[in-house]
Symmetry: C3
Subunit: 215 residues, 3 copies
């Protein structure tokens, strides 16, 4: 049977989900790059990694803009327009903080990248995977709301771990680093990584808000 | 007469208000602890106070999660679900900043806690009381909207006072403290306290937004 | 014909737009003042400029409060009440950051105001004009949504330019300034200016969200 008649009424809005998934993929690529960047601890290489991360950041921006354009041209959306907009914005924030970290490594040129940067960078990678999973379930929100809530909880757990790493880094920094300028540099570089995990937790909060409204 | 039939239809949503009240109580307990903590100006004691404040912060988190769970299981809510969610989140922020202040005192271990920290900590206590009062009137929003607006204004006035204290602290800090590392430490510790009063003002703004929509 | 009957039903909500326009005007005045302030690079003059900018900041606050009061007393609004509230809040943020910059110049009293401060201050002036234009089209949102989107894009472009200036300032600062306290001071003063351009971009994002919902 030709179901072209019915397919016309198939919700067109499912196109939002692939874009959000792509945005989560961008975080994953960027997190792999920042892991390598902080592991290498070399200014020349950092410049190269920053270029590559900047590309991902731009890709994220474009995808975010695409979500906005789609929202403008789509009559029926799966959730409230502003929720999708908000979610896309916040997913983009995670990539932005990874980019800010790489940028500060390049701009500040610290004598040393803190060893603990690798740990937080790896936690951001875990965030990327949890966000991917959560976003992939959004189109079956009602059915899988418990699963999605678990991913959101995971984002919270990861953020707590990143907090601990960051705290230990700070204790060590203030005890052992006597050069105030290096303290400023390292603290801010690490802070961007920590903020990336905050932003990822925030993504989880927005998804939870969507669940509150629609599941 | 047995009114079990009607009681089934009694709005169950009033359960949100006691949780929000409990969250305001948590701010009050935490503010009392941070006042004592900064008054004592002693690292060993600070560690103890931080533990107690951390407990309050966790309690706040749990209450915030409870609001979320209730929102998920309640059909009728007094306001839009996302407004309640948003309000709970922001009330929780005040406690989070008190906790961050205590944490930074412990992690940074400054040579001295600024004297003006006591002043801002006491202003946060005033915030806690104003938030308690405002939240306690939310269930009679329409009747008491003018009273609630006054509490919101009070939160704004307190924030302005905290700003002044923080400004005077900064002038003094940059004039008299020559150790850059101590400047970083004290400035950030005080900044967390100041942010707590900002967050409290933000709570007022959200409540005002709710009034705009429902009163 | 006397149309007093019909005029009663004329949407009263158009009164929101003149207030938003006035708020954009406040940013323009404040940006002119901060340009002069950073060009003069003199502590005594900075105190005078700060007083004048503070007046604008207070004017912005009053206008923002006026929007809130109007929302409370108006039955029909052009957009959702909370969108107007949100927009007014964020326009106010731009003026707030200009004010924070002036305040920090006065409080921190740096040995020198960075030359690049003038560049960012001028970009904030461009923001002010773009926000004025966008706000002026809001009452004909449906007709002029493409034009408004252009102004929002402009706010994004300006923010990118400000980012570049700020980055070059940071590279220079960390390479050439050896006094950690001066680094802290100059970095924060410049950061407030950069945040003003961020806030202006945010205004654009909110306007875009309104377009998503209503155009």
């Amino acid at each position: 049977m030709n179901n072209s008649f019915f397919s016309k009424f198939t919700p067109k809005e499912t196109k939002f989900f692939p874009i959000l998934t792509e945005m989560a993929d961008v975080i994953l690529v960027a997190s792999d790059l920042i892991i390598e960047c902080v592991q290498n601890n070399n200014h020349e290489l950092a410049i190269e990694y920053y270029k590559k991360i900047k590309e991902q950041e731009k890709k994220g921006d474009k995808l975010s803009a695409k979500v906005f354009d789609e929202l403008n041209s789509t009559f029926i959306t799966p959730f409230d327009r502003e929720d999708i907009h908000h979610l896309a914005d916040k997913i983009d924030d995670v990539t932005d903080y990874i980019n800010s970290c790489a940028k500060k490594i390049v701009l500040y040129n610290p004598k040393q990248i803190p060893a603990k940067a690798v740990e937080i960078a790896k936690l951001i990678r875990e965030d990327a995977i949890a966000i991917q999973k959560a976003v992939n379930e959004l189109d079956v929100l009602k059915k899988n709301s418990n699963k999605i809530k678990e991913y959101c909880l995971e984002l919270k757990v990861i953020e707590n771990k990143a907090d601990d790493v960051y705290e230990n880094f700070l204790i060590d920094l203030f005890e052992n680093q006597k050069d105030a300028v290096e303290i400023i540099k390292m603290k801010e570089i690490m802070s961007e990584l920590e903020k990336a995990t905050d932003a990822a937790e925030h993504v989880g909060k927005i998804i939870k808000t969507i669940i509150v409204k629609y599941a």
